[in-house]
Amino acid sequence: MHLKNRLDVGEFAVLVEMEPPKGIDISSMVFVAEKLRSKVAAVVVPDMTAAVMRMSPLGAAMILQSKGLETVMQVCCRDRNRLALQGDLLSAYAGGISNIMIVDGQDLAFGDHHQAKAVDDIDGEQLARAIKGLCQGRDMAGTELLGAPAFFFGAEFNPGLEGDELEQELERLDRYKDAGAGFFITTPVFDPAVLENLADRLDVRQLNLIPTVMMLKSVGMARYIQRNMPHFHLSDQLIRRLQKASDKTREAVQIAREALAVLREAGFKGAMLAPMGWERKLPEVLV
């Protein structure tokens, strides 16, 4: 069942994020993907996360589609101008990729090609309008297309912000909704109460809001997140639990599994697992 239909009928959609390889060896990606085929609604393919150069999501998503997996292809505006973005979107649709997630993309300074020139010809909200236009059969210049795609597209949402920042984020979400976004995948959520707190502002269950469950690979990583990413709301309790565990890897898998169950129980439309390099552990989380 297509992701959109699944969300429409309210069947819990498990998404997993899978980074394309840095190189041409796709064996590991394909190996994991095949194990997940019957367990996930779709694989989310990032667009050079943290500005680290790797196989483009277009290529990787097409490979995954050819292995029988549905994909959500991320698109950011950092590396391509409006011609390249639209061209890749058309290629994607023709290659079977119908789900798109617009992301902001981190600055080149975060990545491994610091000297590169950023493109940023258009921004995410303009891209959303461009996608809508493509679906109506016209490109950004208004020229008619030979066959129009029917994308189901979404964007990011950070539910952990507070105060003015949260207000701005909610406004941004509204603008994306107006532009036709059909789902929102959140930044990592370690405390579901963060989502419940938004209940009077957003219909978090009707909105196709898909919280992200990030795998905590080590105590060090957890501490780093707690210190540097306050909007992820990672509690001391969770760190202590990981600390106390004799088998930390197993505990991390268990924590992710429980988080998924909690979101499913709470009535969310789905959840996305972010393995943070632990792609090979995904089948264990999703037993």
């Binding site: 600055d107 080149l108 300074a109 610091h114 000297q115 590169a116 020139k117 950023a118």
Partner: protein, 222 residues
């Protein structure tokens, strides 16, 4: 210097349409030299705005002032006593001016009356051309003093593209192909070999791509 063009009158009128009294402030720096935002231009724009609004039956009071430089807090300070007597302030300086003004006077509104275009100079009376794109790492010594970053439409670093024809750029016959000039000069001076050197991919961090830039001269910082 920085070259700018005045914005179309309709755009300026739209900005100040709700105002009854404005300050029009020019700058004696670059925009005076390129005849777009100095004393004379301030006077001309002020009277055009007054006349247009008078015709509409909604007179606009326009006061005129020209600062030594709008990109210098010392001169920006000269508006301290008066800036809040207007519904808005229209700046005829380059894009730096209205920003320095609004940083100094956050409770006033500042509008740009010019479009800031490039760094360059006058090639003949009344015609200015781009020469530098401020990439932050100057390499024109490799190109006999001509900048392919700013002056080649594609910023090519190893020679002309296939669109170069009769010394003109493929983008428009009004644009000279700087690569035609660079190659000619190298040929004349028998140094064409220079162009065989492979240049490493440019480090764009020193340009805008590394984020907004800053220049610190330690010996001057107190």
């Amino acid at each position: 210097m920085i070259i700018a063009d005045r914005k179309p009158l309709e755009e300026i009128q739209e900005m100040v349409k709700s105002c009854g009294k404005i300050l029009l402030v020019g700058c004696k720096g670059c925009v005076t030299v390129c005849n777009v935002g100095g004393l004379k231009e301030v006077q001309v724009l002020a009277s055009i705005l007054r006349i247009a609004r008078k015709k509409e039956g909604r007179p606009l009071e326009v006061e005129e002032k020209v600062l030594e430089r709008q990109c210098d807090p010392e001169y920006v300070e000269q508006l301290r006593d008066t800036y809040d007597q207007y519904d808005a302030v229209l700046s005829m300086a380059c894009g730096v001016g209205p920003q320095f003004l609004s940083e100094a006077y956050p409770d006033q509104r500042f509008f740009p009356a010019v479009n800031t275009k490039f760094m360059g100079g006058a090639v003949q009376h009344g015609i200015w051309e781009e020469r530098c794109a401020g990439c932050g790492t100057c390499i024109i010594h490799f190109y006999d003093g001509m900048c392919p970053i700013a002056r080649c439409s594609k910023s090519l670093l190893h020679g002309p593209c296939g669109g170069s024809a009769d010394g003109k750029c493929e983008v428009s016959s009004d644009i000279e192909c700087i690569w035609d000039k660079i190659v000619r000069k190298k040929m004349e001076q028998d140094r064409l070999e220079d162009l065989r050197v492979l240049r490493a991919a440019k480090d764009w961090r020193t340009a805008r791509d590394g984020g907004p830039r800053r220049s610190i001269r330690e010996e001057l910082v107190k």
